[in-house]
Symmetry: C2
Subunit: 337 residues, 2 copies
């Protein structure tokens, strides 16, 4: 992180904390419902799922569902189940993603597949996915079910697209953005839309919250991609350079590749396409990214998406929930973890 980013850290953390404080009571109910719905006669299921869910994470996606419901003046109780379903779907994708990526660390702890192999995480992910739909059925709101079924299909498409574009330095920025819109932003968007849908708000508000969520999700993923090369490992809670070692094509790479000379392009092709890497290559990659200010360009892009997200909120009157959603944009764009 740059010095400037480090200085920004405090207000940024407090934006997250303010949002958390606003929905703290609801989130406590979400956490209780998570533990309740993880129960199964098959003891390995709660054991494995709890490893990941209890590790915490920032709970941004369920928070978005809770804040959106609040923003829309939803007076009922169902938002708690919806937020729980969102977190279950997110956790299922993490479990399946870890199998795919074979990553060693997740949220600062050993990943589920490092502990249990590839088998159990796939199946426990399926269980969580099913539980999410059971929860949605119990809420009995078809529109809401459709929102999350659509998002789930889109996530899977984005993840498959990521496989297809992995190791391809010829990926276009457009294809990259479409891919992260699917794999990350679709669930952010769905979480936000749920709030308006369950509150029965008019279409304009639904679309505004969709637009907010999608732009926020893209910004979130762009920062994720930047942090993979620039974060301090202890803060990030996972290994720096994971994307590089897997040959993942992310925006920093696309920026540096497009600006790079033939020698640099040969470096990216060897390390990311052929995934032939030596110990020193990550540092060299970081050096090339710095030369082209690729991390800064990625952050700038995230900031632009962040502005789009905030603008989308403008149709709502100012309220603590709207301020919290706007604050989450600042957090997602300027976070160091």
């Amino acid at each position: 992180m740059s010095v400037a980013a480090a200085q920004r850290d405090e207000p940024v953390r407090s934006a997250l904390e303010q949002a958390q404080a606003l929905v703290a009571e609801d989130m406590a109910r979400v956490n209780r419902l998570i533990l309740e719905k993880l129960q199964s006669e098959v003891a390995l299921i709660p054991e494995l799922a709890r490893h990941l869910i209890a590790a915490g994470g920032k709970r941004i996606r369920p928070m978005l569902a809770l804040l959106s419901a609040r923003l829309c003046g939803y007076p009922g109780e169902d938002h708690v189940a919806l937020a729980t379903a969102v977190e279950f779907i997110h956790t299922a994708t993490l479990l399946h993603d870890d199998v795919v990526d074979d990553s060693e660390l997740r949220r600062g702890r050993a990943s589920a597949n490092a502990l249990w192999g590839n088998k159990a995480p796939v199946l426990v992910g399926d269980f969580l996915f099913s539980r999410a739909f059971q929860l949605l059925v119990s809420v009995g709101h078809l529109e809401v079910l459709g929102i999350l079924a659509d998002a789930s299909a889109e996530i899977a498409e984005g993840e498959v697209q990521q496989l297809v574009t992995a190791n391809d330095t010829g990926t276009s920025e457009e294809a990259y953005l479409a891919m992260i819109t699917g794999k990350t932003a679709a669930l952010f968007r769905a979480a936000c839309e749920l709030g308006a849908a369950v509150a029965g708000r008019p279409r304009a508000e639904r679309l505004a919250l969709r637009a907010y969520g999608e732009a926020l999700g893209v910004a979130f993923q762009l920062i994720d991609d930047a942090l993979d090369y620039s974060a301090r490992e202890a803060e990030l809670g996972k290994a720096v350079g994971d994307d590089f070692r897997e040959g993942k094509i992310t925006l920093p790479i696309l920026v540096a590749f497009s600006k790079g000379d033939e020698r640099e392009r040969a470096f990216w092709r060897r390390t990311l396409e052929k995934v032939e890497q030596s110990e020193a290559d990550l540092v060299e990659a970081q050096r090339i990214l710095a030369r082209h200010r690729a991390i800064e360009a990625t952050i700038a892009r995230a900031e632009a998406y962040g502005r789009t997200a905030k603008e989308a909120l403008s149709i709502f009157p100012r309220s603590p929930a709207r301020d919290a959603l706007a604050g989450l944009v600042d957090f997602c764009v300027h976070r160091a973890y």
Copy 2:
């Protein structure tokens, strides 16, 4: 297969064909809907999914949904979407199961993970699962959604249970039956219940179709387990002895283990618990199973479940659909593939 079983082959095949003929038109629509709903901008998804779905299979699960709807006099169109959703969920579990089992053959062709690695099949399975729920949402029938969400959770629980009991010769028959009820019979049961639910039939008919489907599913899995040791490979469409090589504990093993002497138990512990196997061990396993008539005992158990399934149908007046469902019991219990 014994000579007697081979002689039974003809009427058995014809029972399947009669059921197929009765719903041929509906099944053609299911097949069209499958292809339509496999579409995605991500080309790998239909490519991979079609590999498995187009390979055919017997389509027993969607056939059960179609026949149950017919039995219940359902006059509408939604049963086609429901049957498609059932096949999607089944295919998703196959894709995830192949990752889990690393099996080499599925429906006589190379398994998806042998061709595409572990990554893509997990994600395409997630896509199919999501598509199934999108289809159900489009039908707009909450009860039906609940039936399939419940079944999906139960399948995942059964699969995880299978992991837990794998390689454990101390597994009780009770635990084994609970496990196959989850991993196999839950979807048979759900497919049958859907027909009554979508037709709005009274609870007694729903319960009868649930009972039929569950007993049929257990019988189907028991025969699967028997065939893994006794089938002719060309007919089965997958390698004989897969379960043995993976150390799977199935009913034939539990029967032989309980009747075996210490030398035989040591053999099972070495081959199935430690999975230390030599080339000749499968033949030795088959010899021990034959000595204790374990395959015959497994088939007898399947026949008992088959009788339970047929009895459950007795509350319905006789009709071509009921005859077809009864015929499917004969097929499932006496099939050689």
